[in-house]
């Protein structure tokens, strides 16, 4: 195998151990499209001792807020989020699923009160971690497609 294809970054965030194939969803969560100011590097289908195949996303000059980390956790519970400052790992965080997901998912039930014009954030309660099952605190419905429901 050739040496690391992805170069170290000076400042920013490295999201590693993303389940293979989920990198593009991570970019979507981070709102990364064509018009970003700094470099974003995506490695897909990288050999991994731990998980056989994984994806990696490196975002330069950006640290993630807790809500973004929560969102990533919903689709990539195995991911690690490393904050890089001056080429060093300043913080190494394993994402962990919160008890409740607040304001990061849209309820799939069109008749749910959270889909009307009310001043509330959605709240989903984790009813199972593997497989990930989330229930709307308001209408009690289970969320069917978690990745598609991320706002």
């Amino acid at each position: 195998m050739r040496e690391l294809r992805v170069q170290p970054i000076k400042n920013g965030t490295v999201i590693d151990h993303i389940p293979s194939g989920m990198a593009l969803k991570v970019l979507k969560i981070l709102g990364i499209s064509g018009n970003v100011a700094s470099t974003v590097t995506v490695a897909m289908h990288v050999a991994s001792a731990k998980m056989k195949w994984k994806d990696i996303v490196k975002v330069e000059d950006r640290e993630l807020n807790p809500r973004e980390v929560d969102k990533i956790c919903l689709i990539a519970p195995s991911a690690t989020v490393n904050v890089i400052r001056n080429y060093n790992v300043a913080e190494k965080r394993r994402v962990s699923l919160p008890e409740r997901a607040v304001g990061i998912l849209k309820c799939g039930n069109p008749n749910c009160i959270t889909n009307q014009k009310e001043p509330v954030e959605t709240v989903f309660l984790v009813s199972s971690k593997t497989p990930l099952l989330l229930r709307c605190r308001y209408c009690d419905r289970m969320l069917e497609d978690v990745a598609a429901a991320i706002v």
Binding site: N109, N111, C112, I113, V120, C139, D140
Partner: protein, 310 residues
């Protein structure tokens, strides 16, 4: 919940078995007052607001009667037409307003989760009187009361839920509540309208016996309670198919020939033709009594929540 004072009543899932029994026993004590035989002023000076964002005359009158029988006052609206809601006011703002005018808020709303949201914005206790296809806990409590009062128990009771079990919110909440007790459940429905998987699993997780069938004759002679719900025409793309199905779930006298002597036939009402009018005259018919029980049960809840009953 050990004390009910100040609590919201949003979903039957918020209740423990002990909570349910507390409400039922309190409701039984309310019967003389609910029927007007004994006056009660224990909630004098208290005000209930009844916010009916969709009309439901039966439920609204039952709540209003309950509050007035306890000496309390009532304000609110029976439908949103003519109120500021029609001008686009949010539910959150409406709730903030009535919260200042009353001691307890009863809400009926076409959207699921509306009562939970109302409770988030109200400082006073909120009672859910039905939110869309979601919860209707006072209906569930009055159903349980009717069974408990009629048979003297809930543990060991043999109950068949009949009709549209897929979309019917009443039967979903009732299943959740009945699985708190050691009941024998039967789900009787056409295959396309059977109980959702989640609720079947809930019953099985409790280790309760469960029978599922599309043929009411499989269970009718064994059950203590027949809980009938309407099968709606809109659930069937083909009107002929509907007519065929609906006919097989119609309760009439010949079907009741060999049933248990103490069988109770219940229905959340309004009924259309799923129970023949001739059944009304039999001792099995409990659906009108069931509706009347709603007043005692709602009195019990109001009294427990507002501190009229300690």
């Amino acid at each position: 919940m050990s004390s009910f004072e100040g609590l919201d009543v949003i979903s039957i899932s918020d209740f423990s078995k002990e909570d349910v029994m507390r409400v039922l026993k309190t409701a039984k004590g309310m019967v003389p007052m609910a029927t007007g035989r004994k006056p009660d002023r224990s909630l004098e000076g208290k005000i209930m607001s009844a916010l009916f964002f969709e009309p439901s005359t039966r439920t609204r009158l039952s709540f209003e009667s309950a509050m007035k029988r306890l000496g309390g006052g009532v304000l609110g609206f029976a439908q949103p037409e003519g109120t500021s809601i029609m001008k686009g006011e949010t539910l959150a703002d409406t709730v903030r307003m009535v919260d200042a005018y009353s001691d307890v808020v009863v809400i009926r709303h076409p959207h699921e989760g509306a009562a939970r949201l109302a409770a988030d914005f109200a400082s006073k206790p909120v009672i859910n009187a039905g939110d869309g296809a979601g919860q209707h806990p006072t209906q569930t409590l009055l159903d349980l009361y009717t069974i408990w009062e009629g048979l003297g128990k809930l543990d060991g009771v043999n109950i068949a839920l009949v009709g549209d079990l897929k979309y019917g919110r009443t039967v979903h909440s009732l299943t959740t509540a009945l699985s708190m007790f050691r009941t024998n459940l039967s789900f009787v429905a056409p295959p396309s309208l059977q109980m959702p998987r989640e609720l079947i699993d809930q019953v099985k997780e409790k280790g309760l016996p469960l029978k599922m069938t599309h043929d009411i004759r499989d269970v009718i002679n064994d059950v203590d309670v027949l809980y009938v719900t309407r099968i709606q025409k809109e659930r069937f793309p083909d009107p002929q198919e509907y007519a065929k199905v609906a006919g097989t779930y119609r309760i009439d006298i010949p079907l009741l020939r060999d049933v248990k002597k103490n069988l109770m036939i219940m229905h959340p009402l309004p009924r259309v033709d799923e129970i023949a009018a001739e059944v009304d005259e039999t001792p099995y018919a409990r659906y009108f009594q069931q509706a009347l029980n709603g007043v005692s049960v709602r009195m019990a809840l109001l009294s427990l929540i507002l501190g009229g009953t300690k």
